[in-house]
Assembly symmetry: none
DNA sequence: GATGAATGAGCTTTCATTCAT
DNA sequence: GATGAATGAAAGCTCATTCAT
């Protein structure tokens, strides 16, 4: 089934605007991003931003929604089914690490949204409780480990997810200031394996009861 | 020896601008902050920003430098000398938590600076390797624990500091998005004790792991 | 083939800005000219200066380029083909005089540009060696006179052009100070004929010197 | 007779301001010159400009007056008494040339004043008819030449002075634009002798013409 | 005479947005 | 659906000048 030319162009134009806007907002923040710059990096004109998204804010909202949607999609790919709970939890933490390293634009957008105290996000219905799926996976592995007696029983899935997220987000989001303060480059390839293993270690040590 | 009125006023004017600017930049980011708004919240005029700081960017640099200086000063107050290494480490992690909760403006500034990829920070000489003092304390406690045989020997002070910082920063910096995604308020008083104890637990479990 | 309304307006808007800017820069110099004043004398707004010329300096560059282009165009109209070399040279000098009197705005712009040590001019590619055409005409008349034995052979076209230009430019550019110092009005109609004849005399006497 | 300290300092301060202001106005024009810059290049402060000269304009007026006074002083040094009228006239033209090359700041100030249509100059009483002395010398030489039958009788001193001034001023004042247009550097040492001799030639040829 | 602090008015420039076709 | 031209409001910044001591 083929869409008519016009419509396909419309879809393409919209998608291109969204992709470029994601880049620009992520690079410069909401206030720092320039509508002109977004348009210029596109094959369309500024006018289309108003046509499709109503304005700068509408475009930003669309970028935010799309970005979270994409991340959730990516999270669905995560699978630790065949591993024992201990290895599964380590895999989960380390894969989360990889995932964050691979989606720095998204993490920047989230930081920007936090600067704005989440006020835009709160207006996007589809983002409500979007965290659940990711946490369910943690919960499942945690429960398995608890049942098998390898994990302590007094830790919630939320806590585990918080500790993993904090580490993974921080190491991307704060790489510039933290790196500068300690004279280390968190993004350097030679540090990657160590930093990746670290969060696995931390979480597994923490959860493994004696 | 008393300073002349005029000069004292100058110091006050400069300090007031700096204080207000810290608030405004922290609230709105670099691009979002308005020079006019900063001035309006002050007893002086916009003109003085240019007189004392050369411009918006100069003011932001001064804010950043002053903020880091203040934090370092506060860190100096940390003392865990009389505690055993295990309790000292827990105290260190939890005090760091308190400290971050108490200085949200600073954490927001750091997030803003990371959005700008640390480009301003890099131009402030006094911030080079400013992290050392904080890390030395971790190092000292870690060494004591290692010597006493209670801490594992394969973990560096940098790693410990990274894990603690990540947790403490994240839970302030990302409170809006993370809270919204999971329907929990990280800043709610009833969660404070739990969140505070958590990082202590994590670090101690990790380091005491054989 | 008719251009669309909109586009024709754009051309008109741009041209109007250029014309008014020529006046204002010529009246007040580069620093003395006010972007606001230029806009006010126009049917458009200040914003259009930035839209079409990028800023005050871009506008000034456009004014300079256009002014030189206009002058060169006017110089093309000069024709002394049928006159003998002696009369041709006199005509050339005196027509140059007329020409300068008729384009005082241009001469003022040139004076302004010299105050700035030609720094803007140097950045306009189209002005490089723009003087050649004017000098070629002098060269041709000079050569004819030399061949016919009425002009001395040891004078270059450049020298002749320099002497003529100096006189014609000075008498416009320095009319205010020179006039005041000697209590004479170089622009007074009753002096015009004498001042015009003078440069013809000077050049012809000089070149026919045995 | 020794002046009291205080007074001598006052004289020195005033003189220093005047000297620096001459430079700055000459470099940047009236509007382009910055009161702050003038003060900064001085050992005094901005306040002194207001104390001694009343403001920017007063300072500019003082600069203008002082500059003309200095030039007139220099002109007094001119002496062609023992030469024959022909050689005297050539010497006069060529010395005027030297004089202009040596006082480029002054010529720039004059150009600036002409941009402002001489409006400041007109308010300085001491500059009225300041040109007379310079012209008297021309007049005297011209008269001698006329009496001896070597100079034509139909040329006024004013005309001669105009031709000489035009050439000498132009070649300094318009050096940047003229030089660029023709790809020649009027200020290059290797051109000096030729350009200097030129005006002598022109004037002498013109005046000896029968 | 001198000084550092302060200032209002106005300058150039930028921005998201809308209009006319 | 699309486009180039246009715009008002407000932003950051600069200037000559004056004040308080």
């Amino acid at each position: 089934m083929v869409e008519p030319e016009r419509q396909r162009d419309a879809v393409r134009t919209r998608a291109e605007l969204l992709a470029v806007a994601t880049e620009v907002f992520s690079e410069s923040g909401y206030s720092g991003a320039r509508v002109d710059e977004i348009a210029e990096r596109t094959r369309t004109t500024k006018r289309m931003i108003y046509y499709y998204f109503g304005g700068k804010e509408g475009l930003y909202l669309a970028v935010l929604e799309e970005a979270y949607r994409g991340i959730r999609e990516a999270e669905r790919g995560l699978d630790v089914g065949e591993l024992g709970p201990l290895e599964a939890m380590r895999r989960l933490a380390e894969t989360t690490y990889d995932h964050h390293v691979a989606h720095q634009d998204f993490i920047r957008l989230v930081a920007i949204e936090n600067i704005h105290r989440g006020e835009h996000m709160r207006r996007i219905e589809s983002l409500r409780d979007l965290g659940q799926p990711a946490m369910s996976l943690v919960d499942e592995v945690l429960a398995r480990g608890r049942d098998e007696g390898v994990f302590r029983a007094d830790v919630e899935a939320f806590d585990v997810h918080l500790v993993i997220s904090a580490y993974c987000v921080f190491q991307v989001a704060n790489q510039y200031t933290f790196g500068h303060l300690f004279g280390r480059d968190l993004a350097a390839p030679e540090n990657a394996a160590h930093l990746r293993g670290l969060i696995g270690d931390v979480v597994v040590s923490w959860l493994t009861r004696r």
